[in-house]
C-alpha cells in the first residue's frame, strides 16, 4: 500500500524542505519508488535543493488546472531508479491549488509509487490545508527553540482534525553544546511538551547547507552525521527499529529518550 506523508512545521525555515528532500533521497536509496510533491506555491525550492530546477516544464498548478497530465509534470531524478518530483509553481497564487485537486493527484500517484512525500509551506492557511489534504501520515519538524516548538504544537493540534495517523516528530538543527549548556531546549523537553513519537533527530550540520547548495541532498553522502540521521529516519519509516544515534562521540547522551517508532506499528 502506498503512503502519502506530509512534512510540516507551522514555523518557517525549520527544515521542512530539507527533510522532504533527504527523506525522499534516503527512501529511494532503499529502493523505494518515491515521488516528492512541492506544495509551497510561489516559494518553491524543493527543486533547487534536489538540483532539478532546470528541468521544470510543467508544475502542480498546470496539473490542477488541466493544462497538462500529471505524468507530464513529473520530473525524473536520473541519479535514482525511481525518484520523481512534482514541482510547485513559482508564479501562481496559492489559492490556485485546492485540497480536492491535491487529493486527486495523490490518489493517482499512489498507483505508481510507494511513498509520496509532500513538502508543506509554513503557516496554517490555505497552503497548509492543501498539503495535508491527501496525506495518510504527517511528520512534524521542529528545532529545539521555544517558538518553533510552540508552532509545532499548534500544528499537531490542527492535525487532530484531519484523517491522519498520529504525527511523528523530527527535531532538526540540534547543537549539542547549546543543549548541554541549557541555552537550547533538550530533546527530552521537546518530546515531553509535544508528547508525540520521536521519529528522529538531526544535528545542525554545515554539510546540510553545502549539499543543498550543490543540489545534492546530504543523504547521498555515505557517512556524515546528518546523512546517517536521515537514513535512519527512512528506515524507521519502513518500520525498522533503529536506535537514535548519539550526536557526539560519547555514548549514552540520549539514552533517556526511549520513545521512537517507525511509521508502521
Amino acid at each position: 500500500m502506498a503512503e502519502a506523508i506530509v512534512i510540516t512545521s507551522g514555523k518557517g525555515g525549520v527544515g521542512k524542505t530539507t527533510t522532504t528532500a533527504n527523506l525522499g533521497t534516503a527512501l529511494a536509496l532503499l529502493n523505494k519508488k518515491v515521488c516528492l510533491m512541492d506544495t509551497d506555491i510561489g516559494l518553491r525550492n524543493l527543486d533547487v535543493v534536489m538540483g532539478l530546477e532546470n528541468r521544470i516544464i510543467y508544475d502542480i498548478i498546470d496539473v490542477a488546472q488541466g493544462r497538462c497530465k500529471l505524468k507530464q509534470a513529473l520530473i525524473k531524478d536520473k541519479r535514482f531508479d525511481y525518484l520523481f518530483l512534482l514541482p510547485a509553481a513559482q508564479t501562481s497564487d496559492k489559492n490556485d491549488l485546492t485540497p480536492d485537486s491535491v487529493v486527486e493527484m495523490i490518489a493517482e500517484l499512489k498507483k505508481e509509487f510507494d511513498y509520496i512525500i509532500i513538502d508543506c509551506p509554513a503557516g496554517i492557511e490555505q497552503g497548509y490545508k492543501n498539503a495535508v489534504a491527501g496525506a495518510d501520515h504527517a511528520i512534524v519538524v521542529t528545532t529545539p527553540e521555544k517558538s518553533s516548538v510552540r508552532d509545532a504544537d499548534r500544528i499537531i493540534g490542527l492535525l487532530e482534525h484531519e484523517e491522519i495517523s498520529s504525527p511523528k516528530l523530527v527535531i532538526n538543527r540540534i547543537r549539542n553544546h547549546m543543549m548541554k549548556s541549557g541555552d537550547m531546549l533538550t530533546i527530552d523537553e521537546v518530546v515531553q511538551v509535544l508528547s508525540i513519537d520521536l521519529l528522529g533527530i538531526v544535528a545542525d550540520d554545515e554539510d546540510v547547507i553545502k549539499a543543498s547548495n550543490r543540489g545534492e541532498p546530504v543523504a547521498f553522502q555515505p557517512n556524515t552525521k546528518a546523512s546517517i540521521s536521515y537514513r535512519n529516519i527512512a528506515r524507521r519509516i519502513l518500520g525498522e527499529s533503529v536506535p537514535l544515534q548519539s550526536l557526539e562521540d560519547e555514548k549514552g547522551v540520549f539514552s533517556k529518550v526511549k520513545r521512537f517508532l517507525g511509521m508502521r506499528n
Binding site: K146, R150, D151, D153, R154, I156, G157, L158, V193, L194, S195
Partner: protein, 227 residues
Amino acid sequence: MVLKNQYVMIKGTRDGLTLFLDDSCSFNDLLDELDKTLSHDEFDEDQAMITVKIHLGNRFLHKEQDEQLRTLIRQRNKLVVQGIESNVISKAEAIQWKEDSEVRVVSKTIRSGQVYQVQGDLLLIGDINPGGTVKATGNIYIMGALRGVAHAGINGNRQAVIIASFMKPVQLRIADLYSRAPDYETEGVYMECGFIDESEKILIDRLQLVAKKRPELNGFERSVLNG
C-alpha cells in the same frame, strides 16, 4: 405574630416576614388573597424596610407569575422581596444544575491555540501546553502539566479552584480575577492548588491546603448547597 388565612400564612420574625403560600389553589386566587391580606397592614412612613421571604411549597412559577408576585409585594411600600423559594424546578434548570455539578473527565493534550471549555468541573488527564487554554464553570483538576492558561469558575464562582500535578501556568484565572507567571523563568511546582484567598488575590499553595480552604469540595452535597 401569625396570621392564618385560607391560602396565605404570614410569619413575622426579627429578620422580617415569611410568607407561606398554598401550592394547590389557583395562582389568581392566591394573588387575590395575598393582596387582601397585605392591605390589612398599614406601615408607618418612618418604619424601616421589611424584608419578605416567600415559600411556594410545591408550586412552580413561570417568569411572568414570578414578576406578578414580586410587583404585588413591592406595591406595599416598606416591603422588599428577599427571595422566592420553591421545592420544584423546571427540567431545564435541573439539567443546568446537573451539568454545573458534574465532573467531566477528558483525556487529551490541550495544545497551542486550542481552547477546551466545559460546564461543571473539569478533570483533565493530560497536559495543557503553552498557548493552550481550559475553562470550566466549576473547578479544574489537571492530572498532568499546566503550562498554558486555566480559567475556573468562568460564570463568576470565586470559590472555584485549579489543581494540577505540575503547575507552570502562563496565567491562572478564577471568576473575574487573574494572575500571571512572573517575567523571569521559573521552575514550576508539583501538586499545587490555585484559589482566591481573603485578600481577593489568586494564591498558589500546596494542594493539601485545599481541604481547609474549600471544605465544601467534599462530596456531592456541595453542589446541592451551592445550587
